[in-house]
């Protein structure tokens, strides 16, 4: 297969994934009996007593347009694809009206990306390194203990690890702030200091889970590779153990882990949302939570569309890099 064909196929799959994904999140809510506009009007009525029927009808119409619920289903879909998907324009946010959803997401996204990308990469590197050592010497007690720890941490949901860390290190020991507070005044260095301090616990909780998985999977990969004939042969040739580990076992097992990294990004994003919510970290997760609490559907739709696009794109990038790393795959 030529690289060009592979490239085009991959791009097509990427576009289709996004299209199916957003079509799904467009139509599913419309199949539920619950109507966001009616919900909002009911909420307003319960807050401010009875409203004038004519006024209410006007408000309903106004809200329909702002939610993109105006016109036939097909028109709405077209409007959503054109504005939401292509221009990332999801209309105004209802919780901080009239600021557009996109600009609020733009403010919060860097925190989520910073937290999740840093911890994912660190976890990948640390986990694979430990996993390689553990798999290469899998009969040592230290390897078994490390794997045991990883197995006991990995299956726990993100928010639980975050919650336990919060209880132990913020409530009981008091080493860290319970909720994230970023300095809005003061110098850049002070702001950065407050950000770093606030990121320690969320970072550690995501790092623990990520590292756990990479240790488990790398150990089993490296353990299998280490039993291959070419490793045995290398041993007979008298090549040092360190060299066998680094250039024979490592190079062969790491390739699988690159694909696995691409596959794990969706889960990491979900985990990041939950971790942020527990610690009140000012990223997309906290934004989604506030949007849920205040029934800001434009915001929820915006966050989800952008996350689908972002994760599919990240997966695409890792997939496209892959042939350049694996010398066994060469297109044309």
């Amino acid at each position: 297969m030529k690289f060009k064909t592979f490239f085009l196929q991959r791009i097509l799959a990427w576009a289709l994934t996004i299209l199916i994904g957003v079509t799904f999140i467009f139509f599913i809510p419309r199949m539920f009996p619950s109507d966001p506009v009616e919900n909002m009007i009911a909420q307003m009525q319960s807050r401010s007593g009875n409203m004038d029927p004519a006024e209410m009808e006007a408000l309903r119409q106004q809200l329909r347009i702002q939610f993109g619920l105006d016109g036939t289903l097909l028109e709405q879909y077209g409007y959503f694809l054109l504005h939401g998907l292509l221009q990332f324009d999801f209309g105004p946010s209802l919780m901080s009206y009239p600021e557009p959803v996109t600009s609020i997401i733009g403010r919060n996204l860097p925190y989520t990306l910073g937290l999740s990308l840093t911890t994912t990469l660190l976890a990948w590197i640390i986990g694979n390194f430990i996993g390689l050592l553990a798999g290469f010497r899998k009969n040592k007690t230290s390897s078994k203990i490390l794997e045991g720890i990883a197995i006991c941490i990995y299956p726990i949901p993100y928010f639980l690890v975050a919650l336990v860390l919060q209880i132990v290190f913020a409530f009981v020991l008091g080493w860290f702030p319970i909720q994230t507070t970023l300095l809005t005044r003061g110098t850049f260095a002070q702001w950065l200091g407050s950000l770093l301090k606030a990121s320690v616990l969320p970072g550690i909780s995501m790092l623990l889970l990520g590292t756990g998985w990479w240790i488990i999977s790398m150990k089993s990969l490296a353990g299998t590779t280490a039993e291959e004939d070419f490793v045995l042969y290398a041993r007979y040739r008298g090549i040092s153990e360190a060299k066998i580990g680094a250039s024979y076992v490592f190079r062969n097992s790491i390739l699988t882990q690159i694909t696995a990294l691409a596959m794990s990004l969706g889960g990491v994003f979900g985990g990041s949302i939950m971790t942020e919510i527990i610690f009140g970290y000012p990223g997309v997760g906290t934004l989604i939570q506030n949007a849920i609490l205040q029934s800001d559907y434009n915001m929820i739709l915006g966050c989800i569309t952008i996350s689908i696009v972002a994760i599919s794109t990240a997966t695409l990038v890792v997939d496209l890099i892959y042939p350049f790393i694996d010398p066994r795959i060469r297109y044309g």
Partner: protein, 281 residues
């Protein structure tokens, strides 16, 4: 019994340990659960904020509920949701996987594009959106159905590749030439293969469904009257159990969830190791 003794002898440590832990949870959730007791959800059944005692092993909540029975109810409901989701996901996954692997052609392509999309797109945000639309009106069954929408894609992909590799093997050709119909071949020759793998996937799906439900619960998106492990943690959190140092109330569901998840995970990896050992690797 003899068969079980043989299995137990061949099983590895993880499988045994995971099986025992999971079994204990099933006994709590499906046997102890039916011991007659006061509905643990009702407020002010007992005095509030009691510590641990012989009568209330894990104390009572700020609403005067007994933590032990609340926990047992939560384990029951979480397991039920996990099992329903895993069942639906496995059945649909095996069906779509076999269909796509055997039909081939256009149907296969379309099914695989949809499946791949469901494998790649982040499930949590979409679950958040759907459950936030149903806020208040959702029930346990609806919750399970929603979670099941993301449980079928992975098994269907795996079953498809399994079907593709099996369908070219000699014994399938033999079956075909001896006049068996495709449906017959699928049921008698391929399903047994698919089922051993599906069991491990089934446990995995149970685990991830319970995890998703509790994540949604922490967001306040699980049905408000559903006593699940996630909701129990969330209630304790929202009634400031941590600030008031009611560590038994918040700690009990956390510890139970952690033990359940580690137990299930050990069972899954242990079972997979056991299978590959049986295949002689």
């Amino acid at each position: 019994m003899k068969k079980f003794a043989k299995f137990w002898k061949a099983a590895n440590f993880r499988l045994k340990f995971g099986l025992i832990v999971t079994l204990i949870f099933f006994i709590i959730g499906f046997v102890v659960y039916y011991v007659p007791h006061v509905n643990p959800f009702t407020f002010n059944t007992y005095p509030n904020k009691l510590g641990a005692s012989a009568e209330h092993w894990l104390g009572t909540t700020s609403m005067g509920q007994d933590v032990v029975w609340l926990l047992i109810e939560a384990i029951h409901n979480s397991l039920v949701i996990g099992l329903i989701v895993a069942f639906l996901g496995t059945v649909v996954g095996v069906f779509v996987g076999l269909l796509s692997g055997f039909a081939g052609g256009l149907l296969d392509r379309v099914l695989m594009i949809v499946t791949d999309t469901f494998v790649v797109i982040p499930s949590l945000p979409i679950l958040i959106m759907m459950t936030s639309l149903m806020k208040g009106s959702s029930t346990t069954i609806v919750m399970a159905l929603v979670l099941a929408m993301f449980a079928w894609a992975w098994p269907s992909r795996q079953i498809r590749s399994m079907a593709l590799s099996i369908k070219e093997r000699d014994f399938i050709h033999t079956a075909k030439f001896s006049g068996e119909s495709t449906v017959q071949i699928v049921v008698t020759e391929i399903l047994p293969y698919a089922l051993t793998w599906s069991l491990s996937n089934f446990m995995n799906a149970t685990l991830s469904a319970i995890g998703s439900e509790s994540s949604l619960a922490v967001l306040g998106l699980s049905p408000g009257n559903l006593v699940s492990l996630g909701n129990m943690i969330q209630w304790a959190r929202s009634y400031n159990a941590i600030f008031n140092k009611q560590y038994l109330w918040i700690g009990a569901p956390i510890v139970a969830t952690v033990i359940l998840f580690v137990g299930l995970f050990l069972l899954i990896t242990g079972y997979n190791d056991y299978l590959s050992m049986k295949r002689g690797r």
